[in-house]
């Protein structure tokens, strides 16, 4: 039972972490609340569905194609849709909601509302401590570690990473010392959406591919990001595992209340915020009055 809970929460947590890190990055750098983040995840899943089952691609190439396409889509979105109205926070918010709905409808028209599925990259399951775990779930967990490692290397040990961190800390000063803030934001957007694409790629075989699949992860991702502290990647990581654990606990301890797992996780978020209004590791953006 205990191992069940531990393993389930690690896997749940890593999927939320994947989504939350990307969302957190673009918010931290450019203060863009990208509601369409999980819609990009949906597009990636559909892309993999199409390339593997319809075009017969090797799943590995399908993932590369999906991530590339989604990243491109994200960059185009930023250039055409977000950059022109960045000064209007509310407008950006609605524009991304509308974009998410538009993407959902496009997928609906292309692939209808039927439930689709994607074959696992590595089929089968392993038995760890008596608990059955899909290889695909392990893959998700490993990819979170890899993504985190790469992000850490990139942010702390490259010049671009330095630029991103600087912009995240203070946009105006970054601009003053000669960084092209809008290009840095675009780069961050590319990475962020690319991460959503990777998440879609590794998660698609574990879920149902359908046009509304972005809704549930959206609420959970936002909860994770808020709980961890907006813009804090470290915070997102911790929060993802906290909420993942909360969900696993509900499922295992009160099986007849399994449907409440989302509500319980969100309540935890609300309670933590009451104590720490800026999340676990968040910074109060006081200077941005």
């Amino acid at each position: 039972m205990v191992f069940d809970i531990v393993i389930t929460s690690l896997i749940k947590g890593s999927t939320y972490a994947m989504l939350a890190i990307g969302f957190s990055l673009i918010f931290g750098v450019a203060r863009i609340v990208n509601i369409a983040h999980t819609a990009f995840y949906m597009v990636a899943a559909y892309c993999i569905f199409y390339t593997t089952t319809q075009l017969g691609f090797n799943p590995f190439f399908a993932i590369i194609a999906a991530v590339a396409l989604v990243t491109l889509l994200g960059l185009i979105t930023f250039k055409l849709l977000i950059a022109p109205i960045r000064e209007h926070e509310a407008a950006v918010l609605i524009a991304t909601i509308a974009l998410a709905i538009a993407l959902q409808e496009v997928m609906m028209i292309l692939f209808t509302g039927d439930y689709r599925s994607v074959p696992a990259l590595i089929p089968g399951f392993a038995t760890i401590m008596g608990v059955k775990v899909f290889y695909q779930q392990l893959l998700t967990f490993v990819s979170v570690l890899v993504v985190l490692g790469l992000m850490w290397l990139f942010l702390l040990h490259t010049k671009l990473g330095l630029a991103i961190r600087a912009t995240a800390q203070d946009r105006e000063v970054a601009n003053l010392v000669g960084m092209n803030e809008s290009q840095v934001a675009m780069l961050a957007m590319g990475i962020s959406v690319g991460l959503a694409g990777v998440t879609g790629a590794v998660l698609a075989p574990l879920t149902i591919v359908e046009p509304h699949m972005w809704n549930h992860p959206l609420a959970m991702m936002l909860a994770v990001v808020v709980l961890g502290g907006l813009g804090s990647i470290k915070g997102s990581l911790y929060a993802a595992f906290i909420l993942g654990t909360a969900e696993a606990l509900v499922v295992f301890l009160i099986p007849a209340g399994a449907y409440l797992k989302g509500a319980v996780a969100l309540s935890i978020m609300v309670f933590v915020l009451l104590v720490r209004p800026a999340g676990l590791f968040g910074v109060q953006f006081e200077e941005e009055r």
Partner: protein
Amino acid sequence: MNLLRYYLRKVFAVLKNEVLVLPSRIVVLLFFLSMLLMPLVVDDPYFIRILVLASIFAIFAASWDLLSGFTGQINFGHALFFGVGAYSSAILNMQAGLPHWVTIPLGALVAVAAGLVVGIPCLRLRGTYLALTTLAFPIILLGIVFAFPGLTGGELGISGLTRLSTSRTVTYYIIVCIMLVSCTIMWKVTDSKIGIIFHAIREDELAVKAAGINTILYKLMAFCLSGFFAGIAGGLYAHFMRIAGPSTLEVHMSFQVVIFSVFGGIATIWGPVGAVFILVPLLEFFRLWPEFRTLLFAFVVILILLYMPGGLLPWIRNKVEEECPRCKIRNFAARRVCRVCAAEMR
């Protein structure tokens, strides 16, 4: 008789000197008149139904604007108030057998309580934190609704509520009048001193605090007022549809109201109301292409926002009206001199 003549003359003078001088005021006047006269001209139940639903959503959207547009407390879970209003009206109506003119105000009061329940913990939260936290509340309540199916009817909702009236026209007038009155009240509130403080809280809360104003009180007031009107909208919706179901609490509902408001222009009250009366019929119009309906809707929203990020209606208003550079009074854009201080307009 003389008194009557005096008042008539006064009304006429106000009409001539205050209302008919500005296109926006003419539009508002025509809007009131056309809403009130519509059933006399059009006898189409479908059309009337669209107007009724638009009226309900207009109250809902305006209440969001009152809270989020004015005080800047972006609420992403506004469906909470709507759903609480709808569910409590429905429960009071079905369980306690109260008539609708009791259940709707009571439902609105319960929504006020919900406003306090959400508002008090959220006082410490700012900006995006607040927006994303409020998103969670309706989802949590949805969990509670499903946990007590005996009271709430689970996914079926509570159905069979009493009608507002057996006559369609009377129903129309009840809802439209409530809409006109509550939107006017909300507009008046925001136009008063309270409204100025709301504005100030959005722009710089610290400065307002420093000026010795209890911002907490005003923020809670915004939550309660907004909750009240959203609750009324929810109650009306429940009695009109004769069902209060989980769809009133879905994320879709919360997003929809934000789309209406931002599309119409926030911090105006009339912006969201106008947007609802444009978007709801538009969405019905798109039924001509059923597969592309939602997509077209999304595209319209995106396009408008790209070119008019401040909202559609303020953009139009700024095209047809201009502020006098000296006395800051609005004038029709074609005028050469200000209508009040006679200063050159350009």
